[in-house]
């Protein structure tokens, strides 16, 4: 069977150090392939052991003792041990850290090296998702010798080592013969950067690229499905796609107006127009594949009369004008266009303003200068963003904040699930934003290829189990 693979990806990572950058593309290349953390997230979002063979949690939920694998070597030949864990995590929580997910580690109090194969982490207070957090790409273990050059030449402990990066073109990984764990079956994997949607289709059809785990080909799916050599796998992502409203700004500070908008949205049509109907409708900010998911889609059914009535109640019977700022992805641009047409039906005239990412981040996300926007929030389990004090949406509800606080301090699964459910319901009712759909993951790959993830619990292309069947 073949042992090489070319994968397509839309965005090129800016660099290859997952502990020093937010870009998902970094993790999509190196996570679990090159770098490993203490724990590891599995294909369905479960927490699996990584470099830590096992762990113990103290009664009060504050102390975690990790037993590390032994005989693990970094790609540069240096030994992996507890010192590297301490180094990596302390680097992540340092005041001058450039780790993009500093919040993941906010609860860590101390990191102690018990012996070379044992690490003890003490938290300031119990944290329910701590093991999950350690499974993020931002929490992988790096070697102190190689940390300075990881951006260009990543050195980790994983089953693949970095070979070459032709910037703008492709990144090549090769099998690590000295891997401590189960050996992988691929000898070589090339991540090819194909930013243009129109180019992705022929790349797949011609066989130049054998797998496109997140293919921008929603519109051409029929054509690809017609090709027997290719397999199309529609999975889900952690991307809750929402119509964000500026809750601090009139008239969106009025719940009636937000509800009116929610009634006016025809999710089916938006889903069809934005991503060819591949998304899963959502009624709150929660991924449907998550065990704690509560179906709230029915909260605001498509009902123009009700929408108009609510607007009238809010004193805006004649509608109003506003802007909708759209970032570059097609789901946002096309979805925004459909939304604008729909809201026009209840008298809300939207001026469409497409923005580049840089501008969107500056104006909308940081500057909070917007009325409406369409955006997918791709971090896993991120319902807590609605409780953040200075978040761009500007939504504040003490009841909701309380639920989130409790969640944070709860490790018990059943209780957490219940709390998640409460949070979802509050949000659905308050309608701080219009909930649209869960962003699908359109995976296309060679029918003879197996082992690729169907869903995207976290950004990653885990190649450890990937192999050609013939």
């Amino acid at each position: 069977a073949r042992t090489d693979l070319v994968l397509g990806m839309v965005l090129e990572p800016p660099h290859l150090d997952p502990t020093a950058g937010a870009a998902a593309a970094i993790d999509e290349v190196v996570y679990t392939n090159v770098f490993e953390g203490l724990t590891k997230i599995g294909p369905t979002g479960e927490v699996l052991p990584g470099l830590a063979e096992s762990w113990e949690i103290s009664q009060d939920g504050k102390t975690y003792t990790f037993k590390l694998h032994t005989g693990v070597k970094f790609h540069d030949g240096t030994e992996f041990n507890a010192d590297d864990v301490k180094f990596s995590l302390e680097r992540a929580i340092a005041p001058d850290t450039v780790n993009a997910q500093k919040a993941l580690f906010a609860k860590i109090d101390t990191i102690e090296v018990v012996d070379p194969a044992t690490v003890k982490i003490t938290l300031k207070q119990p944290q329910g998702g701590f093991l999950y957090n350690l499974g993020w790409g931002d929490a992988v273990i790096v070697g102190s010798e190689s940390v300075a050059t990881n951006k260009e030449k990543p050195v980790g402990t994983g089953p693949f080592r970095f070979q070459n990066w032709a910037r703008g073109s492709s990144i090549t990984l090769v099998k690590n013969p000295d891997y401590w764990g189960e050996p992988v079956s691929l000898d070589k994997a090339e991540f090819r950067i194909i930013p243009d949607a129109a180019a992705a289709i022929p790349a797949l059809l011609s066989g130049d690229v054998q797998a496109f785990p997140s293919a921008p080909v929603a519109e051409a799916l029929d054509q690809i499905k017609a090709d027997a050599r290719l397999k199309v796998v529609i999975g889900s992502t952690e991307g809750e796609t929402i119509l964000s409203m500026n809750n601090k700004k009139a008239p969106f500070d009025n719940k009636l107006v937000r509800q009116a908008i929610s009634y006016a949205l025809n999710r089916e049509e938006i889903n069809a127009g934005a991503i060819n109907g591949l998304g899963t409708p959502i009624g709150s900010h929660f991924a449907p594949h998550n065990p704690a998911y509560v179906d709230l889609i029915g909260t605001y059914p498509h009902d123009l009369e009700k929408a108009k009535a609510l607007l009238a109640e809010a004193g805006l019977a004649n509608g109003f004008s506003a802007t909708i700022k759209l970032p570059p992805p097609p789901y946002a641009r096309q979805g925004g266009e459909v939304i604008a047409a729909e809201l026009a039906q209840i008298g809300i005239n939207l001026e469409i303003i497409p923005l580049e990412w840089a501008q969107w981040l500056e104006q909308v996300f940081t500057g909070k200068d917007f009325d409406l926007t369409v955006i997918s929030h791709v971090e896993p389990n991120d319902i807590d963003i609605y409780s953040r004090p200075d978040y761009y949406i500007g939504y504040q509800n003490p009841a909701f904040n309380k639920v989130i606080q409790e969640l944070d301090a709860t490790a018990d699964e059943a209780k957490r699930k219940d709390l998640y459910g409460q949070a979802q319901k509050i949000l659905a009712d308050d309608a701080p934003v219009g909930f649209l759909f869960q962003l699908p993951k359109v995976g296309v790959w060679d029918a003879k290829l197996e082992g690729l993830w169907e869903n995207t619990p976290i950004p990653a292309n885990d190649l450890t189990k990937v192999k050609w069947t013939e």
Partner: protein, 289 residues
């Protein structure tokens, strides 16, 4: 030639009569008028609304109800082409206009002045030129925001050095001619000479360049729209339609074919018009063949 008795030459004719006698001008004018008429008609009537979505009706092929089919939002392509003509033509014409209004005087000035002024102007020209059109457009829209106006400005700026070059080269070839000396002997200054003698003689050069730039302008608008910087939705433009069609080209070729044809026909019509106008404007070519 010199000995031809004056009577054998047809007397100077009115512009209209000359125009009607020029085949390429007439064909070009008819095409251009049809396109322009279509754009104007779209203000009062289109077969369907060009902006109303009907997503469930999307990407339908050519049919009796929708002559050109429907797009990915289920809009009627014929209606979109009619409405899109406005934006595409307006952007292209205005951008060419900016190029001419600024570039031609610059080029003429450089040619008339010569020396270091010429040198400096031409180097600045190179500088603008070094920056590919699409990039300067991206920068401009990045600073001032996207939209048709900024697209016009961005494409227009790119046109400036083009026309400056053409005008300068043309003017440089006219300046040494004897009739310029005659005009100087009549006490006319550089400005007047440029207006009265240089410009009429470089008109044909500019016309030809203008039609080329027009075609490029429509395509540049398309390119900008592709990057989300051109005409803003929901207003359609031919360029946006083409780019929207890109990913669906194999699934629904009509999405690309009709706007593509609209561009090709318009450009062809304008080129014919330009070629014809050039012949008509040159009195030496007016004699019947």
């Amino acid at each position: 030639m010199s000995a031809l008795p004056a009577e054998t030459v047809p007397p100077s004719q009115s512009f209209l009569r000359l125009a009607l006698g020029n085949r390429s001008f007439v064909i070009g004018a008819v095409i251009t008028l049809i396109i322009a008429g279509m754009a104007l008609l779209s203000y009062v009537w289109t077969p369907y609304s060009a902006t109303e979505l009907s997503v469930l009706n999307k990407m339908k092929g050519v049919s009796a109800e929708h002559w050109f089919g429907t797009d990915h939002f289920g809009r009627d392509i014929l209606s979109m082409i009619m409405v899109g003509a406005r934006a595409s033509i307006a952007v292209a014409i205005l951008a060419v206009g900016i190029g001419i209004v600024i570039g031609v005087p610059l080029g003429c000035y450089a040619a008339a002045t010569g020396g270091w002024v010429d040198e400096v102007l031409m180097r600045v020209n190179d500088l603008v030129f070094a920056f590919p059109a699409l990039l300067s457009a991206i920068m401009i829209t990045a600073i001032f925001g996207p939209g048709a106006t900024n697209a016009i400005i961005a494409i227009g700026i790119f046109n400036i050095p083009v026309f400056a070059r053409v005008a300068r080269a043309g003017a440089l070839s006219i300046w040494p001619r004897e009739f310029i000396l005659a005009a100087r002997a009549s006490g006319k200054g550089k400005v007047l000479i440029t207006i009265e003698h240089i410009l009429p003689n470089i008109v044909s050069l500019l016309l030809v360049q203008g039609t080329i730039q027009f075609a490029l302008g429509i395509l540049a608008e398309a390119g900008l729209s592709y990057l989300g910087l051109g005409t803003q939705p929901p207003m359609p433009s031919w360029g946006r339609m083409l780019f929207d069609a890109q990913t669906r080209m194999m699934a629904a070729p009509h999405l690309a074919i009709f706007p593509g044809l609209a561009i090709v026909v318009t450009v062809l019509g304008l080129n014919l018009l330009g070629d014809g106008a050039r012949d008509i404007l040159d009195p030496r070519l007016r004699r019947v063949r």
